[in-house]
Symmetry: C2
Subunit: 349 residues, 2 copies
Amino acid sequence: MNLQQLLRIQLPIIQAPMAGVAGSELAIAVCNAGGLGSLPCATLSLDVLRQELQLIRKHTTCPFNVNFFCHAEPEPNSSREEAWRATVSPYFDEYGIINDVASISTPGRLSISWEAVEVLAEFEPPVVSFHFGLPPADMLAKVRSWGAKILSSATTVEEALWLQAKGVDAIIAQGLEAGGHRGMFLSDDLNAQAGTFALVPQIVRAVKVPVIAAGGIADANGVAAALVLGAAGVQIGTAYLLCPEAKTSNLHRAALKSDAANVTAVTNLFSGRPARAIVNRLMRELGPCNVIAPAFPLAATAIAPLRRKAESQGSTDFSPLWAGQNVSGCKEVPAAMLTKSFVHSLNEA
Amino acid sequence: MNLQQLLRIQLPIIQAPMAGVAGSELAIAVCNAGGLGSLPCATLSLDVLRQELQLIRKHTTCPFNVNFFCHAEPEPNSSREEAWRATVSPYFDEYGIINDVASISTPGRLSISWEAVEVLAEFEPPVVSFHFGLPPADMLAKVRSWGAKILSSATTVEEALWLQAKGVDAIIAQGLEAGGHRGMFLSDDLNAQAGTFALVPQIVRAVKVPVIAAGGIADANGVAAALVLGAAGVQIGTAYLLCPEAKTSNLHRAALKSDAANVTAVTNLFSGRPARAIVNRLMRELGPCNVIAPAFPLAATAIAPLRRKAESQGSTDFSPLWAGQNVSGCKEVPAAMLTKSFVHSLNEA
């Protein structure tokens, strides 16, 4: 069974779930164009999750994907948080705002919960993908109970084998070029993170389930090349960031269109976990990776007031400008048009 | 004109020049199998260069490539060298050997020189490739005078445009997966270094000359995928390291065959310039990158006595175990067989 048959989609294209910049509107557009649209749920309250799922069910009859994080909740570490607060304090002073340590206790991004699964059960999404591993077995079984296909990301061969052993239906091989959070969950060694060209064929060789290539893929040639490497399909994120249906901020859009977008780095400053973003002032001055950044996802809230204030003045110095290493596919066109452009010929799909 | 026509080779496969681990024997084997064998010349004395060229001319009538570095000579920096000597001193003590600062003055790797060009002129190699940019215009003109085709590596779109403006015949797009030295020469920002999947299509779009993909390519599917991305051919290094014709040391071979080879990093500790190698003790403890490592190529000689002593005791703790991010193509088979395995069907080549 190929990926399209497995997920009941027309094109072997998955729109990457991108928390904060993608919602139901983008997912619906991609689904209706024949790809698999994805709703990132990590930052949604249960009410908003339900609203978004209602919108998707209303506007498409096609299969869609909902994506959840499944990280362990961070353990409080007051000395580390205090050290981080002191490190970023000069920036708060610069903007004349109070560096409120209490803000660090707000997570911002949530792991999948039983409450969220109950909301999902109302809508029975056909595909559920995970980042940072998988949820506990009983929760995964519940998600499977309505027939959902399960996807998760692997950044190494070891992670791919682990996911296969847990019974996932397909594995997303996330190459180092990819924008946003590295899905890594068995090791925190960034040196073990390989580029798409090296990673995809090694995972394809190691597992029996379909492999979805991600990272650096931005056009039809990229999709075709990934299939030649043995992938059954691709997941594309960055290229969708300029689509009108994306919720990408104007400042983020401007950055993606600038030369700055050619220099990205994997940073932990914005969330506590390694993620690829366009290099900006905070990354240059404190990173891109810094051991004292609070544990995921606390680092995000730790600088949230600073980010808000700076953005209100037109500055992205403290904003996570998520992007992969290939922004050449970013186009200000409807997501349906972009999705269809990823396959050389629809007849072949 | 395609790459095979340009270089007069049968297969679109270039064996990467790998100083220290590859010599005339490997180049000859690849040439006679229909690929472009490469002789790395950066560590060769003029006498050895002449001997190697004599061997190549004697054992193959096919076109071959000679590769030279063209870095600027390092400026002496006694305080940096002294700091480095102090940093590595405990390792010398551990092995009971003297940390002789004088050894730092021996370069080990040489930029192309007029004397070397005179030796080349005796043999008129059909292809000459460069790393770290290009030599001065008059020297390049001399190399061109016998009809040699000129190649050089680009690690960014900017470097590719620079090389095209200087009139190179083809550009090697060196993705971040690649083993050994990053060819970067316009910027020292490692964040600007993209993976093969992101880099190749962007360079292909930017230039008119043929583009040779390098980095993470290890088998026929990898070659085919690179061509789909728009490359006219590929350069493959790591996969050749276990061939009997390679001069790879037994310790290096053992490392390549071990699980350790799955974790590489870009390090400047072994030469002073960023290069990808299997992570070992020195990289773990002092790097992988360290700002006080002596300027290229002095760092290599700075630890040479330590490396020698450790290797004599079977340790690779201080050895540069060059490797790319995809060692899955490393096979203990003759280089001719390996070269031919890189194309799905010789009839299509």
